[in-house]
């Protein structure tokens, strides 16, 4: 015996073991019947589906354990389809596993790379082709073609230009102006300070001239939340305090992170929470971010009342509302 380390040897493909159905004709017949039963079940599934489609009323609800009250039309249609499809599959696989040959066969693989000769021949052909076209010898054609193809490539960009207008300064503007009344959303009613109890929240929009209605584009920038606290609960500098009115403070409802509606107000802690990414803003400190991924407070809208006592904006928002963008200056 040599000193060489001898690896463990490949014993080769194990001998084929016959199945019951290969040796016992009765077992084979049984398997045949089982396959046929599965196919018949499938047909019954399709019949159930047809029945449900035509005869079961779409409004009929039945009680099914586990599922509860269930639409009979939907469940019968769906179960019929599921049975019809599943049983065809189960039958085919059962057939393949019990009655079709199960002896493994061996095929050979071949390396993918071509013969060296073929490779050389290819290079020669490709070179000959290029030479016949004369690209190398005629730089004028090569360069002008390059320029032409490059320019043609611009076409899609050109044609896609009219997909939309340029942003210009529209991201920085909302419909709020000095003196715009705050109206309820929904309902479009102007609001007096006394309509809001301490602890209450209201969603508002700017009042529109009669006949116009709020488009989604407007709501996406104009939505404002009113929250009423006791004035002593605020922890604001003098300027921000002057933007509130009798404990009522107004913030843009559009999250400064990714623009979701900051819809959850926690009355006890006086926190506003955005349900999308859980940015949390402290109402008493001008919506300062106290948690989550938002980097900026919600813009605060300066409010006061007009001579009739309705809440109005003192001035437009002093910064863009909504998520950040490149051109935003702070």
């Amino acid at each position: 015996m040599s000193n060489e380390i001898e690896p463990i040897k490949d014993p080769g493909l194990p001998a084929h073991v016959h199945r019951r159905t290969d040796t016992d004709p009765k077992a084979a017949q049984r398997a045949e019947r089982q396959v046929a039963i599965l196919f018949i079940l499938s047909a019954l599934g399709t019949l159930l589906m047809i029945y449900a489609y035509i005869f079961i009323d779409q409004d009929l609800f039945i009680f099914i354990p586990v599922l509860g009250d269930t639409n009979a039309h939907q469940i019968a249609l769906g179960m019929g389809m599921a049975i019809a499809l599943f049983c065809i599959g189960a039958g085919a696989i059962h057939w393949a596993k019990t009655l079709m040959p199960d002896e493994e066969v061996i095929a050979q693989r071949h390396e993918f790379k071509s013969d060296e000769d073929d490779r050389k021949e290819f290079v020669k052909t490709a070179k000959a082709g290029a030479a016949a076209a004369g690209l190398g010898r005629r730089p004028l054609i090569k360069r002008s073609l390059g320029a032409a193809l490059g320019l043609v490539g611009v076409t899609p960009l050109l044609l896609l230009r009219d997909l939309g207008p340029l942003p210009e300064d529209s991201l920085t503007k909302t419909s709020w102006k000095a003196g715009t009344r705050l109206v309820t959303d929904p309902g479009d009613r102007p609001i007096r300070a006394e309509d809001l109890e301490v602890g209450a929240v209201a969603q508002t929009l700017p009042e529109l001239p009669a006949g116009e209605h709020h488009t989604l584009n407007n709501i996406a920038k104009d939505a404002v939340l009113l929250i009423r606290l006791r004035p002593e609960e605020f922890n604001l500098d003098a300027e921000r305090l002057s933007w509130t009115y009798e404990g009522i403070i107004a913030f843009s409802k559009i999250c400064s992170h990714m623009g979701c509606a900051v819809a959850l107000y926690e009355q006890q802690t006086k926190h506003l929470l955005c349900p999308c990414h859980q940015s949390t803003f402290d109402v008493t400190r001008a919506a300062k971010v106290i948690f989550g991924p938002a980097a900026r407070p919600l813009p605060q809208l300066a409010i006061t009342v007009d001579e009739e006592g309705y809440l109005i904006a003192q001035s437009p928002f002093n910064e863009p509302v909504g998520p950040s963008f490149w051109e935003r200056s702070s």
Binding site: I5, E6, P7, I8, K9, D10, P11, G12, L13, Y53, Q58, H73, L77, G78, M79, M81, A82, L85, F86, I88, G89, G91, A92, I93, A96, M100, V105, I106, A107, Q108, R109, E111, L160, G164, L166, Q203, L216, N217, I219, A220, K253, H257, M258, C260, A261, L264, P275, C276, Q278, F291, G292, P293, A294, A295, P323, F325, W326, R328, S329, S330
Partner: protein, 529 residues
């Protein structure tokens, strides 16, 4: 010859006269496909795609992607009289007026989820068994492309009904586009035809969802399958299986019956889910308006990791020379996914660079025999799972009575700490399993039978394992690390020495292994007994 045979022969002859298909067919009807349950995972994705095409076509017959405002007058009472887009109204009509419409909508949505599960699990199988190695790198890249497009396609699909949940998803997508430095607001305005939400976005993504992306999918899937066919399927190691052969069942009839049957099983299961398991009940959400949102807003699972990353991002923004860079969106929304998907696509090339292995491989690796690769996979998977868990942090917090802050801090720490731990633990585990394999081959299987020796000592009887099993446990290759010298033949420091050093280090790490058992050792041990 029976009449039926004559007719079939005539038809086949007619086709062959014009195409010469017989020559190709005779060879390929007996094509051999190796059998293993894990090879079905990709099939699940393929069949789900077919189901998506069928159910999706059905839905297009009734869906109206228009943003025209209508007043709902259908049979769903709670929304009667509500103003909404024609898209949402037609999605409600599919659910309530069209017979079988709700079933098809639910089948379509379930099939999309299963499609993505199929792709991801198939990808994991291919990764952990090393099936991506030469010559299959092209197919790996196509697969990564299909995964990426699948995520986009799924997102566009559930954005179409214009309900409150999907509109919120579009809002977030818009914020990501808008956060791109320099071009962000321009791109957002082009995509949305102006400001968010506008009236053009849903009609546009409808075209992308039902025409452009399915077309690309069809093309990529065709190439993917043609390459599998042409390169022949990989196989697991085992007795009689080599790099030079394929052991399995012939296409006709066994493989065809099994694969065809499996299509119907996948379709049947999807139909069952569509029948009993409600998914995306859009009528409960109401029409989209930017001023509202539903609590517990969740994307579909394959977007969840992305949302989870966004949720845990630190609140960072830079303001430089009057411009804003939103790191809190760019890092989790673009930079990290960019790194993840680029790394994924390049992995086969990185591995072959590090190991210096440029040969063809048709035998799969058992994951334990490639500890470094398996550990890297476990690390990436842990990273993704932590993000996915954080994508549901609100739901988890309410379900398990945690605060959202606890969840978020857990994720922020875990995403940094757990992946390296997963790497180390997985690598150790792989090496321990190798050691166990070695013991099994050398000392045999524990039988559980205790024997008392004349000396009073108790020993457990071990039984040698079968030659087939011993071969399976020892047939893998163990590559030596690359020998990379910093100096060239003339003793001069090579350029790129640092790169070489890195390569040598990775190669050493990849080559760590428990020496596999040999026949020689086995014989020596037998001599002892």
């Amino acid at each position: 010859m029976t009449a039926r045979e004559r007719i079939a022969g005539n038809v086949a002859g007619y086709v062959d006269d014009r195409t010469g298909a017989a020559k190709w067919m005779k060879k390929n009807l007996n094509k051999v496909f190796p059998d293993h349950w894990s090879f079905l995972l990709g099939e699940i994705a393929l069949y789900s795609f077919v189901i998506l095409l069928l159910s999706g076509t059905f839905l297009t017959f009734w869906f109206d992607p228009s943003m025209r405002e209508v007043v709902y007058e259908g049979s769903y009472v709670p929304l009667q009289g509500v103003e909404m887009s024609a898209a949402y109204a037609s999605a409600l009509d599919i659910s309530f007026e069209v017979r079988g419409g709700l079933l098809m909508r639910q089948i379509h949505h379930w099939a999309a989820l299963i499609f993505m599960v199929g792709i991801v699990v198939h990808l994991l199988r291919v990764y952990f068994t090393g099936a991506f190695r030469k010559p299959r790198e092209f197919n790996w890249i196509i697969g990564v492309g299909l995964l990426t497009l699948g995520i986009v396609e799924g997102f566009l699909g559930y954005s179409l009904p214009d309900d409150l949940l999907s509109g919120t998803g579009i809002r977030i997508a818009e914020a990501i586009i808008q956060a791109l430095p320099v071009v962000g607001s321009y791109l957002a305005f082009f995509a949305f035809g102006g400001e968010f939400p506008g009236t053009t976005f849903i009609p546009r993504i409808y075209t992308v969802h039902i025409l452009l992306l399915p077309g690309i999918f069809l093309a990529l899937i065709t190439v993917h399958l043609m390459l599998v066919w042409y390169q022949k399927h990989t196989q697991f190691p085992g007795p009689g299986r080599t790099e030079k052969n394929v052991v399995g069942y012939p296409l006709l009839p066994v493989y065809m019956a099994k694969a065809g049957g499996f299509f119907f099983i996948v379709f049947g299961v999807t139909a069952f889910l569509g029948a009993v398991a409600s998914i995306n009940p859009i009528w409960l959400y109401g029409p989209y308006t930017p001023g509202q949102v539903s609590a517990g807003s969740q994307p579909d699972w394959y977007m969840g990791w992305l949302d989870g990353l966004v949720r845990m991002a630190p609140p960072l923004e830079s303001y430089i020379f009057g411009y804003t860079i939103s790191w809190n969106i760019l890092i989790p929304g673009l930079i990290l996914p960019g790194i993840m998907f680029t790394g994924l696509a390049l992995y086969p090339f990185i591995e072959s660079w590090a190991t210096g292995d440029k040969r063809e491989h048709h035998l799969l690796d058992r994951p334990r025999n490639a500890p470094n690769r398996t550990a890297i996979g476990a690390m990436a998977l842990t990273f993704t799972l932590v993000s996915l868990i954080n994508g549901g942090n609100d739901i988890i917090a309410t379900t398990f009575d945690l605060t959202i802050n606890q969840m978020m801090w857990f994720s922020r720490i875990a995403i940094v700490v757990l992946p390296p731990i997963a790497f180390v633990v997985t690598k150790r585990l792989c090496l321990s399993l190798q050691r166990a394999d070695r013991d099994l081959v050398l000392h045999g299987r524990e039988t559980g039978r205790l024997v008392r020796m004349p000396s009073g000592e108790f020993v457990e009887v071990h039984e040698p394992i079968s030659p087939e099993k011993a071969w399976l446990l020892t047939s893998h290759e163990q590559l030596a690390p690359l020998e990379l010298s910093d100096l060239d033949a003339a003793g001069v420091r090579r350029p790129g020495a640092l790169k070489n050093k890195l390569r040598a280090r990775i190669s050493r790490a990849a080559a760590v292994a428990v020496p596999k058992a040999t026949e020689t050792e086995r014989r020596e041990l037998e001599g002892h007994h």
